[in-house]
């Protein structure tokens, strides 16, 4: 119930999730994602004009449950824009990074990913971490206003 409320709060605060089903296809669209993800995109992409200006400084977001663990981010604002986001907590932090046997990479096929046009029943992807990320970032940015 609490998680649902958190999700509902996110809808109000950042524009919301549109959750809809259509002819066997299921999409979770994060409307705010485009704006929020722009700071992470490499230069050259056209960013839409945004009229939100933040106060310069470093702001720490809330700790959000990503189910696999906590996500917490710290946003840095320079010149009124998000210039960096660092992870203070990340779900995989407890996985020990032991060296594994370094075998020669077998001949595994590689390809550049391309968008596919197909009717699918269901989509596999990691949604949990990014949702928690957006929520944590949002609380960081709310302090910067």
């Amino acid at each position: 119930m609490k998680k649902t409320l958190i999700a509902l709060a996110a809808v109000v605060v950042i524009g919301g999730y549109v959750l809809y089903q259509n002819q066997g296809r299921f999409f979770l669209i994060l409307l705010a994602q485009h704006r929020l993800s722009n700071p992470f995109q490499s230069s050259g992409n056209t960013a839409p004009a945004t009229n939100i200006s933040y106060k310069n400084g470093t702001y720490t977001g809330s700790v959000e449950d990503a189910f696999y663990g906590n996500v917490q981010v710290q946003a840095t604002i320079t010149g009124g824009k998000i210039t960096d986001v660092q992870f203070l907590q990340y779900p995989h932090d407890a996985l020990r990074s032991q060296a594994i046997n370094s075998l020669a990479m077998p001949n595994l096929r590689q390809e550049a990913i391309t968008a596919q046009i197909a009717q699918v029943d269901v989509v596999s992807g990691a949604t949990d971490t990014s949702n928690a990320f957006v929520q944590s970032l949002q609380t960081a940015l709310s302090q910067a206003k």
């Binding site: 990340y90 370094s102 595994l108 596919q116 989509v123 992807g125 971490t129």
Partner: protein, 261 residues
């Protein structure tokens, strides 16, 4: 019939292809996930796992599901060269293994009720069974980690589990807090197809944590295939992954064109 709930911070979707299916069948599945959250969430003070971490329960008092999960977590630690470990100092957090296991248990409960054609999807980790409403194997898209509205691969699955581990945030700002030189963003998305979603999920989690070596790890596991996307939008796949791939319309047309020429 298909139903979705937002639970545990993620959408959980169940589709059952059967004319006799009723809403309560779905409600039972969502109730089960609620029980899982109530038992295994480290964020709930009164969950069993929280009580264990506060030293309030002895091993003999653990529930059967808790004992099962702890045994499976230990087995996974051994199976993944220590990359998967639920120990956080003197506390334990098995949530990395609970999700896939719970999806699989939910799917098995549908089987026990006599359903044959269904899938259970919790936050993009999926168990499929039987056929879809078009009497075909279930068609599963792999989401583009750089654009959530797109899919970059389409696979056809019969009685398998598929799980994706990763982060959908583009850029080089994602580091392992324990080791700042370890750039987790090298690998953005790691999808594993396995005999069931529990197996796929635990190995996807571990493979993602291994960075680019993760794909080698999956290649060596029999019965598992992997599709790894790195920050340069390059996908690396295991040698038999292509057996699951549904060719896109354009690719099929190109192939036809070639054969004509």
């Amino acid at each position: 019939m298909k139903q979705t709930r937002l639970m545990m911070g993620m959408p959980i979707t169940v589709e059952i292809v059967n004319c006799k299916v009723k809403l309560f069948h779905f409600q039972e599945i969502f109730n089960y996930f609620q029980y899982i959250d109530d038992t295994f969430s480290t964020y709930k003070e009164n969950s069993e796992i929280s009580k264990i971490n506060r030293g309030l329960l002895t091993k003999s008092q653990y529930s059967r599901d808790m004992q099962t999960i702890l045994d499976l977590a230990e087995r996974t630690r051994q199976d993944t060269q220590g990359y998967f470990d639920i120990h956080r100092g003197d506390k334990i957090d098995p949530s990395g293994i609970v999700k896939g296991w719970a999806i699989y248990q939910a799917a098995l409960s549908l089987k026990q009720k006599g359903f044959t054609d269904y899938y259970v999807d919790a936050g993009g980790d999926i168990q499929v069974s039987g056929l879809n409403s078009h009497h075909q194997p279930w068609i599963v898209g792999i989401r583009n980690p750089f654009n959530r509205e797109e899919i970059v691969k389409v696979v056809s699955l019969k009685g398998k589990g598929i799980a994706t581990s990763g982060t959908y945030i583009r850029g080089a700002h994602i580091y392992n807090p324990q080791d700042k030189t370890d750039n987790l963003a090298e690998v953005i998305s790691f999808t594993v197809i396995g005999p069931n979603v529990y197996e796929a999920d635990r190995f996807a989690t571990a493979a993602f944590a291994m960075g680019k070596k993760g794909i080698e790890f999956i290649e060596k596991l029999s019965g598992f295939e992997g599709y790894m996307i790195d920050k340069k939008s390059i996908a690396t796949m295991t040698s038999k992954f292509s057996e699951y791939v549904v060719k896109s319309v354009e690719e099929s047309e190109k192939k036809d064109l070639k054969s004509i020429q």
